[in-house]
């Protein structure tokens, strides 16, 4: 197949997917729609983790704190204090930006394992705070009764309308990320991932570029958190807890952290796996855990990594591939973890 034909087919396929997604409320049940809404708000969280991991090579364990924070702010200001929309939402995002900036100043001085441990510590501090603060945040019980607003007379309590708004926001978010990946900023970030020292020598403000990436990523998590709070009507410390943090990291790796579409694909699969398997067996967490372990053992580059290899056999490198998590040189080298079998 020629490159042009491939591109043509990709365009057609993309168009089919977009039409199928937009028309979704017409042909699926209410719960399928609810699950897609969940996919979208967790998708935002996955994009947040994916941006840092795929573009910047940074494993951050703080992103769920931003996801929870925006939910808590709209619960506190909107539901409990009665401020009209969009004040709680804007305040929520502002809080996320501020906290991400402050955290960024601390964590972006570090790399690798130290970075991982610092982000873990900050995320856990946020989680402990919301869990133990009962006077304002109601501790373990969380804030319930959160209602979505009605912007421009749109009734967001209607599933279809909520879905379309979320989908539009997600589409816009993806577009921004796509442009970001191609921008000088995105390329600089990739450079920092490969060699911060060299980028610094070239005159790039490495520290501030990383802080900016952290703030942008936090914003995505914050938007996801608002959608999640609107949709479920409740925000609890669960939003921030470590198991959620690890889960979203696994989701991104499952899809393929090195690929632009990896976080999205990972979220779609993980959310649907949860819904479908939990109907079959009460031990669904075990099954999902096994799937994650299997994927990471067999295909550390995720599902898109596998698809790419299969595709590479016939048609050359896939066009969808945008950003490498694994450096090209390292990828070309034989696997070092001893399992082998997927070169």
């Amino acid at each position: 197949m020629t490159t042009e034909a491939t591109r043509h087919a990709t365009t057609i396929a993309a168009a089919i997917v977009v039409v199928a997604l937009v028309a979704l409320p017409a042909y699926v049940g209410q719960y399928t729609l609810t699950t897609f809404i969940r996919t979208i708000y967790f998708g935002f969280l996955a994009l947040s983790v994916g941006l840092l991991l795929g573009q910047g090579g940074m494993i951050s364990l703080t992103q769920t704190a931003f996801f929870g924070l925006s939910g808590y702010v709209i619960g506190l200001l909107g539901t409990e204090r009665g401020f009209p929309s969009p004040i709680p939402e804007l305040a929520g995002l502002a809080a996320v930006l501020l906290l991400a900036f402050v955290f960024g100043l601390v964590v972006m001085r570090t790399y690798g394992t130290v970075f991982l441990m610092l982000t873990l510590a900050l995320g856990q501090i946020c989680w402990s705070f919301v869990r133990q603060n009962t006077s304002l945040l109601h501790g373990w019980a969380g804030i319930r009764g959160i209602q979505p607003p009605s912007p421009f007379g749109l009734d967001l309590t209607q599933h279809a309308i909520f879905y379309w708004i979320s989908l539009a926001a997600f589409g816009f978010g993806l577009l921004v990320l796509w442009r970001l990946a191609e921008s000088p900023f995105g390329l600089a970030l990739n450079g920092i991932r490969e060699s911060p020292r060299r980028m610094s020598a070239l005159g790039y403000p490495v520290f501030w570029l990383r802080v900016t990436a952290f703030v942008i990523a936090a914003l995505y998590a914050g938007i996801g958190g608002i959608l999640a709070a609107w949709s479920s009507g409740i925000v609890t410390p669960t939003a921030m807890q470590l198991s959620r943090t690890i889960w979203i990291l696994l989701v991104v790796i499952l899809g393929g952290a090195a690929h632009f579409w990896g976080p999205v694909l990972g979220t779609v699969i993980a959310v649907w796996l949860d819904v479908l398997i939990s109907q079959l067996t009460p031990r669904y967490n075990t099954v999902i855990g096994i799937v994650f372990v299997a994927v990471i053992l067999v295909a550390p580059n995720g599902i898109l990594g596998v698809l790419e290899k299969i595709g590479a056999a016939g048609t050359g490198p896939g066009r969808w591939r945008r950003n490498l998590f694994v450096p090209r040189a390292a990828e070309a080298a034989p696997p070092t973890h001893g399992r082998g079998g997927h070169t």
Partner: protein, 433 residues
């Protein structure tokens, strides 16, 4: 075909996967949402066993309709509870939602279910506001509120045991607030002076600092552990390991010494008091019939959670039967459930008040060593016809702030005068009368 096109088609096919809601008609769907994993897994499991027993006795059939039950596990997580409730409502199209083992779980799901036009029958979830300040007519709770047995307990301890000061350590969430609130009201009204209150996060496994800071020289008559499940087992074990039960006796909230957790506790706690709506040595024909059937089916004794679930499921089934299997009109179904005669409830006769909450017997119990070497909760005295408002006037009770970390107050001197005086207080009769 290009692999990409194929992949896109697979994706589109995934999306088109229809919701698996099945047509109503010959079957009625009941959603049972509870915590089958997490810190209260033992309660969730016992609850399920009680519900299954009632369903099996009915042969999963009522008025010619097949009863289909869908179980959903929320892991005792409020966010997960709402997510699963959504699944039950939107996908499974349940006709009745029941289950719910914990306080906040009930309030969260109750808040989500508001306006859904589906009867909600909480089994073990006991935050009083669900049938009080946040009540709506589709909630039917033929079981209990946290304050209900504890008001009786506190009053009894102050009146008949002469206790003046209690040191209470509790789990920091709504159900223990409500249990502690009921206890404080009853205890201070009965003549007690102080209920010192300490809260800890859920779950906690190490209680050494909490236990170590209990003052031994300030005249506390007892330590009340206001928690349950795996937290209670850990607390009680450590309390005994520290040798504390020789210095200050330990008492519990309704669930602290419930089976099967009681089986994991050291025998040093024998003689500890608690209050609940069941006792392990109830000896009425209704209870014995239920207990024997339960033991035959599940090979162990029932707990309060099993009995409550059994009663709730029977109430639902009888309501459906009264409607001749037609559950399309949910308001009529609630009305039919309200009209069900629950005088044959195993734990004792139950009536519903205007908030669809139970009016029933409360039993004061004492942990006792049985002949078989296992501990059980032996009934001591009974208070009849206890409502969720205790002995208080409803208007006076509702005027008070909802139970929380700091309300009601710890000291008798800080308690509003109207909460220390009631027209008619409980009368205690010997257990079994």
């Amino acid at each position: 075909m290009s692999k990409k096109v194929f992949a896109a088609l697979v994706a589109a096919g995934l999306m088109a996967m229809p919701a698996t809601g099945f047509a109503a008609g010959d079957s009625i769907t009941i959603g049972l949402l509870s915590a089958f994993t997490g810190p209260f897994a033992s309660f969730g499991q016992l609850q399920k066993e009680g519900a299954v027993l009632a369903l099996e006795q009915a042969g999963y059939k009522v008025a010619g309709k097949t009863i289909k039950v869908i179980y959903a596990d929320d892991q005792l997580d409020n966010e997960q509870a709402v997510t699963k409730a959504k699944q039950l409502v939107e996908q499974d199209k349940v006709d009745v939602l029941t289950g719910l083992v914990s306080g906040d779980e009930g309030l969260s799901v109750g808040s989500y279910m508001k306006g859904k036009n589906i009867p909600v029958v909480p089994m073990y979830s006991a935050s009083e506001d669900m049938t009080m300040r946040e009540w709506y007519p589709f909630i039917v709770r033929p079981t209990w509120t946290g304050a209900q047995p504890m008001d009786v307990f506190g009053y009894w301890l102050a009146r008949t045991k002469g206790f003046k000061k209690i040191y209470m350590i509790g789990e920091d969430y709504s159900y223990p607030y409500n249990q502690g609130g009921g206890f404080k009201r009853g205890f201070l009204r009965g003549g007690g002076m102080e209920v010192k209150t300490i809260w800890h996060a859920v779950p906690t496994s190490d209680y050494s600092s909490l236990i170590g800071s209990i003052p031994l020289d300030q005249g506390y008559d007892a330590v009340l552990y206001n928690g349950a499940g795996s937290d209670a087992v850990a607390f009680v074990k450590q309390y005994v390991e520290f040798g504390m039960q020789n210095k200050i006796p330990l008492i519990g909230q309704s669930n602290t010494f419930e089976k099967p957790d009681l089986d994991s506790m050291p025998q040093e706690i024998v003689s500890a008091y608690s209050a609940h709506l069941t006792a392990d040595d109830l000896d009425t024909p209704n209870w014995n019939k239920f207990r024997d059937a339960f033991k035959t089916r599940w090979d162990h004794s029932p707990s309060a959670a099993s009995e409550f679930a059994y009663g709730c499921m029977n109430l639902i089934l009888r309501g459906i039967e009264a409607q001749k299997g037609d559950v399309t009109d949910k308001a009529a179904l609630v009305k039919a459930m309200r009209a069900v005669d629950m005088s044959d409830e195993p734990r004792g006769p139950v009536k519903l008040d205007e908030f669809n909450a139970a009016v029933e017997n409360v039993y004061i119990r004492q942990v006792t060593l049985g002949k078989d070497g296992a501990m059980f909760n032996k009934g001591l005295v009974t208070a009849h016809d206890v409502s969720q408002f205790g002995p208080y006037d409803r208007a006076v009770y509702m005027k008070q702030p909802a139970d929380g970390r700091t309300s009601p107050p710890e000291l008798r001197s800080a308690m509003p005068a109207e909460m220390l005086q009631v027209a008619k207080d409980y009368e205690f009769v010997p257990f079994g009368k």
